[in-house]
């Protein structure tokens, strides 16, 4: 729970990714709302990763990024990755959301949240999930540089 005013979700609700969370979305990621959905009375550790747009990459000044995705396949793959992680690490909650479209410097491109009884599992699962999302899921980054050029990414943003 991030605020004392919000009540913990029952296990059977927060144990699955709520239908309302779109894995791939064109809207700004609402980290606060996602965190709220990751809370669980049996979770002693919540880890959140936010991948954000940096102002430069390999010495070149970045103006903005644009992400595209094959959404149906991406959503299915992310759900599978989260399900596997939930089972492997006994997670109380596992949430991921990736933004597509145009992103400004500092905006969040991807958020991964894991909740577990103990912190080792929450960190490990979180790193595993973001690694797989970056390397396996059909989502692509295009960097638009301040000099007017652009480049489809092969390299990680973070």
């Amino acid at each position: 729970m991030i605020r004392s005013s919000s009540s913990p979700l029952p296990a059977e609700v927060s144990n699955v990714l709520p239908e309302s969370i779109r894995v791939v979305t064109g809207d700004p990621l609402d980290i606060v709302s996602l965190l709220r959905q990751a809370h669980h009375p049996g979770a002693g550790a919540v880890v959140l990763f936010s991948g954000e747009v940096r102002d430069s990459n390999k010495g070149r000044e970045v103006a903005y990024l644009e992400y595209e995705s094959h959404v149906p396949l991406a959503e299915k793959m992310v759900h599978d990755i989260l399900d596997e992680a939930r089972e492997k690490w006994g997670l109380k909650a596992a949430i991921a959301q990736h933004r597509i479209g145009k992103l400004a410097i500092g905006q969040s491109a991807v958020v991964v949240i894991t909740a577990a009884a103990h912190r080792r599992e929450a960190y490990e699962a979180n790193q595993h999930i973001i690694h797989r999302i970056k390397h396996e899921v059909p989502i692509w980054k295009c960097e638009y540089f301040s000099d007017g050029t652009h480049q489809w990414g092969n390299n990680c943003n973070c």
């Binding site: 094959h70 390397h135 059909p138 692509w140």
Partner: protein, 77 residues
């Protein structure tokens, strides 16, 4: 056969197009695509192929009315 390409592949092909030539599998499809743009060989070798139901490998038999999605290496995050 409908073809959808993404990301860097769009530097070589239209994002969506109809392939008139026949391709029974992804190996044949790659050859047909190289006939359209001979410079796409290297990137096509790094791509995965999928149909609506999910990823397919090189011995999956393609049907004439399939939509084939060509997926370059991921760069999300």
């Amino acid at each position: 056969m409908k073809i959808h390409v993404y990301a860097k592949l769009k530097d070589y092909f239209s994002p969506e197009f109809e392939l008139d030539a026949v391709a029974h599998n992804t190996d044949e499809l790659k050859l047909r695509l190289l006939e359209i743009n001979g410079e796409a060989g290297q990137i096509l070798d790094s791509c995965r192929f999928a149909i609506e139901e999910g990823f397919i490998d090189h011995d999956h038999k393609l049907k004439e009315n399939d939509t084939v999605i060509i997926i370059p290496p991921s760069s999300g995050g």
